[in-house]
């Protein structure tokens, strides 16, 4: 049964970048990635073109059914069939990927999240590890997509808000009963030594900082896969170090 690791944090801190580089270095195989962000970009960062491969996001599938007037209660079964047909699970050499996608109807993401939760429950046993890339903010935690987390990584930016963000994550996870084994802090590329020192004193487990790397921006702008970022680039070496610190087996 694959353990579930979750990457979360405030918006724009570098959750998906961290997830992509996590994917690059983790030894665990087979590996399942979940992009829970409606504004999702993980696929692109990994060089996966869902459209070209004819893959659906969960939101695509859901609203395809509902748009065609299917009964809501039949949707889980229809979706299950779609998954079995391989319409949602993107497969690559290094990872499999499920993308939540953007919803174009009124309301919240409770239903798509509920479906993805069910998918994770069903698929988890086939994988050695699952990594979840979260949307910005806190609401996804309230929806408890992953009730049992192995390692929870919080990627932080250097502002006072980050400290409060940590408190709020703890407040919500406690309130809705999400359990985690480890609670790790990761500093993003804008961190300074001063702020690192502050985090080290916070009593939380701080794993290190993702080093600034112009290549990341260049890759993202051009839509190139972060899996191909050179081994000796600052971002790659720093993420590798962070993961070693957390005790992972890396390639």
């Amino acid at each position: 049964m694959g353990k579930i690791n979750v990457v979360t944090g405030r918006g724009g801190t570098g959750k998906s970048t961290f997830t992509a580089l996590f994917t690059k270095y983790i030894k665990a195989k087979p590996l399942l990635l979940i992009d829970l962000d409606p504004d999702g970009s993980l696929a692109k960062m990994l060089g996966a073109d869902l459209e070209k491969e004819g893959k659906w996001t969960v939101a695509d599938a859901l609203f395809e059914f509902i748009g065609k007037g299917k009964d809501t209660k039949d949707v889980p079964d229809l979706l299950k069939r779609k998954i079995e047909e391989g319409a949602i699970l993107y497969k690559d050499e290094k990872f499999d990927l499920i993308t939540l996608g953007t919803k174009l109807a009124a309301g919240c993401y409770c239903l798509p999240d509920e479906l993805i939760k069910e998918m994770i429950r069903n698929l988890q046993k086939n994988y050695e590890m699952v990594i979840v890339d979260s949307p910005a903010g806190l609401e996804h935690l309230n929806r408890k997509v992953t009730p049992d987390i192995n390692d929870l990584f919080v990627v932080l930016d250097p502002s006072e808000k980050s400290a409060k963000h940590i408190d709020r994550i703890k407040y919500v996870t406690k309130g809705v009963n999400i359990s985690y084994n480890k609670f790790y802090l990761v500093g993003n590329y804008r961190f300074t030594e001063e702020i690192e020192a502050y985090l080290l004193r916070s009593g939380e487990q701080y794993l290190g900082r993702i080093a600034y790397d112009p290549l990341i921006r260049e890759h993202n702008l051009k839509g190139k896969s972060l899996l191909n970022i050179p081994e000796d680039s600052p971002s790659a070496t720093s993420v590798k170090k962070i993961l070693e610190e957390a005790g992972y087996d890396l390639i």
Binding site: P38, D39, C108, S159
Partner: protein, 251 residues
């Protein structure tokens, strides 16, 4: 008529900074509503809600729900008391502007209920103000919930990545499907833009109003929890926001 202004964008782009600075220049009084569960607008305005005995909408709402569940008085449904509760317990009254904060929820589920209640009363709440300014949570989900269905000025604040352009498309698609009408759709560049990416933005065909300039002091103020209203008038951030608002006809 109250002018309805919404600031949105990907996480960490600078939505709250923009709202905080904008509130300096708008004709008073303005009502600012922070819809982000990972709240920070109050912080940026130097307001310590606890210290002034103000509570968040979520706190007040769920306390009232719990009280009713316990069979406590009063018997009036929470929905009907909502507006009164907000006026009494949540509204922070500042000089030239008032602030309401949605707050963080520690119960399972989404923010549909508080958002829904807010949508029902928002026109009444904002009736006596010159401007209603909504600071959105990161990402797209809040758009699906359609809290304000008639927006005068919609500002999308972008960071310089390919993801930003996808984000603009997604924002428009959701607004259309959900039926949010807007008068003006503006894109703004955040402090991380360079000239090349700015040029790219100009060529997209969207109404580009300019860039929020990098300002070291904004970072410092945020870290110290000091109000952005005390930022000197001639600082790069202030000057650029003012210029943007002039172009939008809001000053």
């Amino acid at each position: 008529m109250t002018r309805k202004i919404v600031s949105t964008g990907r996480g960490g782009a600078g939505k709250s900074t923009f709202v905080a600075l904008m509130s300096r220049y708008l004709s008073s009084p303005s009502l600012l509503i922070d819809l982000d569960p990972d709240l920070s607008l109050a912080d940026m305005l130097g307001i310590d809600l606890q210290k002034v005995y103000k509570r968040t909408i979520v706190e007040v709402l769920y306390d009232a729900v719990k009280e009713r569940q316990r069979g406590g008085s009063p018997l009036t449904p929470v929905e009907d008391r909502f507006q009164g509760l907000i006026w009494a317990d949540c509204l922070y009254e500042g000089k030239g502007f008032d602030v309401l904060t949605l707050g963080t929820k520690d119960l399972e589920g989404c923010y549909c209920f508080p958002d829904h209640l807010l949508r029902k009363i928002i026109s009444q709440l904002s009736r006596n103000y010159q401007n209603l300014v909504i600071d959105s949570p990161a990402g797209l989900e809040h758009l699906n919930r359609n809290i304000v269905s008639q927006v005068d000025d919609l500002f999308v604040i972008l960071d310089p990545s390919e993801k930003s352009m996808t984000h603009v498309k997604k924002v428009k698609a959701i607004l259309k499907e959900v039926g949010v009408m807007y008068n003006q759709f503006y894109v703004l560049a955040n402090y991380m833009f360079d000239e090349e990416s700015e040029r790219y933005l100009r060529e997209t065909g969207e109404t580009f109003l300019g860039k929020i300039e990098y300002d070291k002091r904004v970072e410092e103020y945020n870290l110290r929890g000091e109000s952005l209203h005390t930022l000197p008038e001639d600082s790069p951030a202030c000057r650029s926001v003012r210029r943007i608002l002039e172009k939008a006809g809001l000053v």
